[in-house]
Symmetry: C2
Subunit: 356 residues, 2 copies
């Protein structure tokens, strides 16, 4: 495609129209169209093929300081994705190159030369993994899981690792890496089918269905408490937390001495209209001389290529799987995003915007 | 004193009569007397001179697993202290030696040979510090503050260190050590007089009075929020937490990247009759890639002598102070203990049982 044909294209976009209160509603979004701009000297135009939908998006929609500024009202919703170069005035990128980039929830993006680095555009090699794997185990969630487990958790053979959101993108990576490192791995996920898949397909030692009703144990997290007791007879050495809330408290009650609790997210709390629920059992950190530590993936950017090479090798060797839940259609974004918060996604949630 | 005269002595004791609900009441204690047993071969009899009263005692009174078993109903209340050997059938200890030991809240204790190590009896040198300093900066609270700050906090020159319970035993040690290590040190304590003392006598850079009423800021911790903003303009790198509750949340809201939050205690929560208040702002650990870690002093027993030698040197050189709040009389124990929870103690709380 030459630059002169770009003017025929229409770029469909989804913008943040209002800051959601609780769960995002259809009226929190606006659907817009724009022409596709031609790249200036040194710039590129990319076509979106697939977008990564992640729990962190909910945080970006809120006002206030975080590890990254919020999406402004009226701006195209922030989203990472994979796509293809359709016009280039930059010698580093050729038309047809596949790239990972901060596309936003839209069909096309034209990026100026001095924005390419800040946007995080980089070429991806489809021999190392499929397009959607580059959003999953080989993408940001995979990097988050890898560095959170390896650098913050520091797993030792024989230790027991528990990970919540086990069927999600980060959870898949954490659990499979922990197995490769010789740990006993127990997942927590919602629903019998997901749990079965986590054990049979991903090779976890066990998976606790937090939605199960457990006879004789009251409270919504009775199943988690019972499951931890059953499946972690030696206690918990590493807990990789993607969910927060009651489940975090349940695991804190069973950690071992010198345990590591990696705080990666708190999806149970992201749509709260009341205050975040703090971990009531945090004094278990004192009793057990344990550590709770946060992780933000961007800190490890200089080592992404090493983790990608390692995990692409495991995928090739059949030691690691990368499961994506692909929903088709840019316009479905508002309702597709909610699958994350309802726990409906089965594998890493990906929005397919165009066929490769 | 020869063993044969021990039989003339009466040992007054205070025992745990009931597990307190909320703040301990007079009826939770029983006052008993016993004869003093003569030591068997290899054993010693000690006379209590002073006992250390500590927030941790409240935890020992509760049922349930912790870092140490609870005190049983009917047992002499557990307490560390300093005293003197009055009878010895052990070549390691001579009559007249001063020792630190797990005396319990009583006037005398006879310890069998095979219990001496487990009890933690060791000789103290009154040239290194006074009797009460051996319960403070040179004792368990000092060791807790020293190793919590140095091994978990790892202070770097120029960093900002905040410590709650700043006028207490642990807080004094933490703040003074952090100053010696080149940090900016901000205490949190209750009352203008304590805060003034913390700054003028102990040399902290500032001290926030959490009991102050601050114009224009609502809520009980308005003074803490305003004080942190004023006195920690570069944010907080290390927070040494002795109190938990709202103050922990207030500090979490101001931590820096890679901050260390040392969980030493949670005195604000020890007399709760409802659930512990978990830190609502714990996701600040994620945003700031920060670490919250518990410390239990016993883990550092093999290095106590090094910390004692270092801090005794600072005391001798006038670089460190050790302030104790001494209350006289074993029988006052039940009400004296409450001073800790009412924030009435001014310096490390010590119960003088007998004159040295």
């Amino acid at each position: 495609m030459t630059p002169s044909t770009l003017s025929n294209l229409v770029n469909h976009q989804i913008r943040l129209a209002a800051r959601p209160v609780g769960m995002p509603k259809p009226t929190d979004w606006s659907h817009t169209t724009e022409p596709v701009a031609e790249p200036a000297e040194g710039g590129v135009t990319l076509k979106t093929l697939a977008l990564s939908l992640d729990p962190a998006m909910r945080g970006w929609m809120n006002e206030g300081k975080s590890y990254i500024p919020p999406v402004g009202i009226g701006e195209v919703m922030r989203a990472g994705g994979v796509g293809v170069v359709i016009a280039s005035k930059n010698s580093q990128f050729a038309v047809g190159d596949h790239v990972s980039a901060g596309f936003g929830v839209q069909e096309y993006i034209t990026i100026a030369q001095d924005e390419i680095k800040r946007n995080g555009v980089f070429k991806i090699d489809l021999r190392a993994g499929t397009l959607t794997q580059w959003l999953n185990v080989l993408g940001m969630p995979g990097m988050t899981g890898y560095f959170g487990l390896m650098d913050v958790g520091i797993p030792q053979p024989g230790e027991t690792v528990v990970v919540s959101g086990a069927a999600g993108a980060v959870g898949q990576t954490v659990g499979q890496m922990a197995k490769i490192k010789g740990c006993r791995v127990v997942g927590i996920a919602g629903g019998a089918a997901k749990c079965e898949w986590v054990v049979k397909e991903l090779g976890f030692d066990a998976c606790i269905d937090y939605k199960a009703t457990t006879a004789g144990v009251s409270g919504s997290s009775g199943a988690v408490r019972a499951g931890l007791k059953e499946h972690c007879p030696k206690g918990v050495d590493i807990y990789f937390d993607n969910v927060g809330g009651e489940i975090l408290d349940d695991v804190l009650a069973r950690i071992n001495r010198k345990a590591r609790v990696i705080i990666c997210g708190a999806i149970s709390q992201y749509n709260n209209t009341t205050a975040i629920q703090g971990p009531k059992n945090y004094l278990s950190l004192l009793v057990n001389r344990a550590r709770m530590e946060g992780i933000v993936v961007f800190d490890y950017a200089e080592r992404y290529h090493l983790a990608i090479a390692e995990m692409a090798g495991y995928i090739k060797a059949g030691r690691m799987k990368s499961k994506e839940d692909v929903v088709v259609g840019l316009q479905t974004f508002p309702e597709t995003l909610l699958k994350l918060f309802n726990g409906e996604n089965f594998g890493k949630l990906v929005l397919e915007v165009a066929k490769a």
